[in-house]
């Protein structure tokens, strides 16, 4: 086995096949999902009207599921496989678990997507009961989620082997980040798994007459907010682990990186009720409690911002540049992977600020369920997360295929187009939302209302942003397929060096408590109990009506 340095080992072709399989599904979801996305911006701006046989809401459901759930989950799982294989270097037959997970996820995705496109599940990606979709949609969603558990099982197994052979050493940081993210994710998915398997599937088949609507929402958002940190930590794996390697500087601080991820394990989970500020049936004191916890989860992102600026400063110092403009000017903007990831970080500053606003229910009452929220998650998952993953592809592709990028110039254009398009679209959506435009509507005339007419210029601006994003996707597809179908032209060593993880500074070793994931998992569970015992106790002590539900599309 080829060893590159004391952190990175070349992956085997069997491992690369599994990773590439994940990316293949992710890219298929990206292409279909963004195509629907641009059609939606045009429909929303009243520029086109979708035909009845392919209506707006089935397209909107497909867009949300394919991009927010399928693209992200497959890409991050594939990337996480790479991080574990490359830094713990155990080619092992446990890869069968990874494949089992992949096929379950793929089967679930195909089932759910088929039902959506057939018009049997126009329930959007939050699938709020009692909108009643086909049971096969819910089964597909459950398989997509359960599949990821097998990937985690494989990494726990490999890490166990690694630890046995490296007593007293800290788990390699990339593997640690992956485990932290997927342990948090596993705890979160238990909520949605209970919702789907024990409540929605029996109800959709007609085995039970009704469903407890508020309970499904509480379980969904117990999962739904940690879901966004799952996306974010996928991007953070690249920001903390790969960005310093691109700049050839050590990790800013191994200890603080682990601390940030530990804080995410603990604080990502007990915050879901901030999505339910406007729901009845949850007392204001529980809403206040989870607001406080939500504000705390900002802290690890502040730590991340500091560490990344520190990394840039260290890179610039090697070139003898100092000062803000000296540092920014010295960075390798010509490298599409660097440029895309750096632009993604820039977008996250705005996403983070918006998130703090949303977390306060005083402000939430103004923008709840408006286009502001749509703008917010496009400048978080659509900007920072998706752009990081797409930019990382410009290094992953050579690493996985042994081929040079088809066009570096076009890859560079791709990341800038995505950045500009997403910034413009998201700004327009935020503005529209502040003016009162509700989210999730195919058009708005409201009987010729003057209020609604005032939203129109911003809808058109959002559609302009949507078109620029779609141009970025076309550029992405050209470079992707151009690279895949060209002949190999880099050596195996060169290819393996294309995507590596950064090393810690000599002497920078985290305290051993920071490596005890089991302990932090228990702390996370304890905090979930603190945050949710009250709301659940309140819920089960009230007389709640079960609702039969219906198909309203």
């Amino acid at each position: 086995m080829m060893v590159l340095d004391r952190m990175n080992t070349a992956t085997t072709s069997a491992q690369r096949r599994l990773i590439f399989a994940h990316l293949t599904v992710a890219f298929a979801a990206l292409f279909i999902g963004t195509f629907f996305g641009v059609l939606q911006t045009l429909s929303h701006a009243n520029a086109i009207q979708m035909p009845p046989w392919f209506d707006y809401y089935r397209m909107l459901t497909a867009h949300g599921v394919l991009l927010a759930l399928v693209f992200t989950t497959f890409f991050i799982t594939g990337l996480s496989h790479l991080a574990v294989y490359q830094t713990e270097s155990y080619p092992h037959r446990s890869i069968a678990l990874g494949w089992l997970g992949f096929w379950l996820m793929t089967l679930g995705t195909v089932m759910a997507t088929f039902e959506i496109l057939a018009g049997n599940a126009s329930v959007l990606y939050t699938f709020y009961a009692p909108l009643k979709a086909s049971p096969w949609f819910y089964i597909g969603a459950a398989l997509l989620i359960v599949g990821t558990w097998f990937a985690l099982l494989e990494w726990l197994f490999i890490t166990g082997l690694w630890r046995r052979e490296h007593p007293g050493e800290r788990t390699p940081l990339p593997a640690f980040m992956v485990l932290a993210n997927y342990i948090m994710w596993f705890l979160a998915t238990i909520g949605v798994a209970i919702e789907v398997v024990f409540m929605l599937i029996p109800w959709a088949f007609g085995w039970v007459p009704g469903v407890d609507v508020l309970l499904t929402r509480m379980l969904f958002w117990y999962f739904g907010h940690p879901l966004v940190y799952f996306w974010l930590l996928g991007a953070y794996l690249v920001w903390y682990g790969v960005m310093p390697a691109i700049l050839k500087v050590p990790i800013f601080s191994d200890s603080l990186t682990r601390l940030a991820f530990i804080l995410f394990i603990i604080l990502s989970l007990p915050v879901g009720i901030h999505h339910e500020f406007s729901d009845p049936g949850i007392a204001d004191r529980w809403k206040l409690l989870q607001t406080g916890l939500t504000l705390m989860v900002v802290v690890p992102s502040l730590m991340t911002a500091f560490a990344l600026f520190g990394t840039f400063e260290e890179y610039a110092a090697k070139l003898g540049k100092t000062g803000f403009f000296g540092i920014v000017g010295s960075l390798p903007w010509g490298d599409p992977a660097f440029a895309g990831i750096a632009l993604a970080m820039l977008l996250f500053i705005f996403g983070g600020i918006g998130g703090i606003l949303n977390a306060s229910y005083t402000l939430d009452s103004t923008i709840h369920n408006t286009m502001w929220v749509v703008g917010h998650f496009h400048i978080t998952v659509g900007g920072p997360v998706a752009l990081t993953l797409l930019a990382a592809t410009w290094r992953l592709l050579p690493a996985l295929t042994g081929k040079r990028l088809f066009s570096v110039g076009l890859a560079r254009a791709q990341v800038w187009l995505w950045f500009v398009g997403m910034a413009v679209m998201s700004f327009a959506m935020h503005a529209e939302g502040l003016m009162g435009a509700p989210r999730r509507v195919e058009h708005y005339t409201y009987g010729g209302s003057a209020i609604a007419a005032a939203w129109q210029p911003y809808s058109l601006l959002a559609a302009g942003g949507g078109i620029v994003i779609f141009l970025s996707v076309i550029a992405f597809a050209i470079v992707l397929f151009g690279t895949i179908f060209s002949r190999p032209d880099v050596t195996e060593t060169e290819s393996a060096r294309a995507f590596t993880f950064a090393l810690a500074r000599p002497g920078d070793e985290a305290p051993s408590a920071f490596d005890r994931l089991g302990l932090w998992t228990l702390v996370a569970i304890a905090l979930v109990i603190v945050a949710y015992a009250g709301p659940f106790y309140q819920h089960f002590s009230e007389h709640v009506y079960l609702v039969p539900g219906m198909r309203t599309w």
């Binding site: 009845p280 004191r285 206040l288 520190g310 229910y361 009452s365 009230e542 039969p548």
Partner: protein, 155 residues
């Protein structure tokens, strides 16, 4: 573990700012000046049409001079579709649904409620300006979601 001095200052300022945001919310809640909607009233969603006062949605005046407005949402309209409210009236809204989840947003106000079958959502608003207020459904409820709206006329 080494933490840079500047990082301590940076994180300290961040934590103080976040704590200040949280203290403001605590003060607003303790001082009863702003609370999120948190009604715990329930209603049998299959019997809304025969449950008073939702059997006759609309406005009623209380002895103390304030008002209560009862709204029913169902695919894809609100009842009442038009409500006339006196200028300066303080109105407590009670909103429920007979079928799926709807959203009750009175444009350009803080009244913004998730409306769930089986539950009654509540919010209060004082109408200080005369004219027409648009109410939209701001939670996806099905094919006709975009056409679900109503009006409040303040005069």
């Amino acid at each position: 573990m080494h933490i840079h001095r500047l990082e301590k200052i940076f994180l300290g300022l961040g934590v103080i700012t976040l704590a200040a945001f949280f203290l403001i919310l605590i003060a607003l809640q303790v001082g009863e000046s702003f609370k999120p909607p948190a009604s715990s009233m329930t209603i049998d969603p299959t019997k809304v049409a025969s449950t008073a006062p939702f059997d006759r949605p609309g406005l009623r005046k209380l002895p103390n001079g304030s008002y209560e407005a009862y709204y029913v949402g169902q695919v894809f309209f609100w009842r009442p579709s038009t409500l006339t409210v006196p200028l300066g009236a303080k109105v407590r809204f009670y909103v429920t649904s007979t079928d799926v989840v709807h959203g009750f947003l009175i444009e350009h106000t803080d009244v913004n409620l998730e409306v769930m079958p089986g539950w009654v959502s509540t919010a209060t608003h004082v109408f200080r300006h005369s004219g027409d207020h648009l109410i939209v459904c701001d939670q996806y409820c099905g094919a006709g979601h975009a056409d679900m709206f109503a009006h409040i006329v303040v005069k």
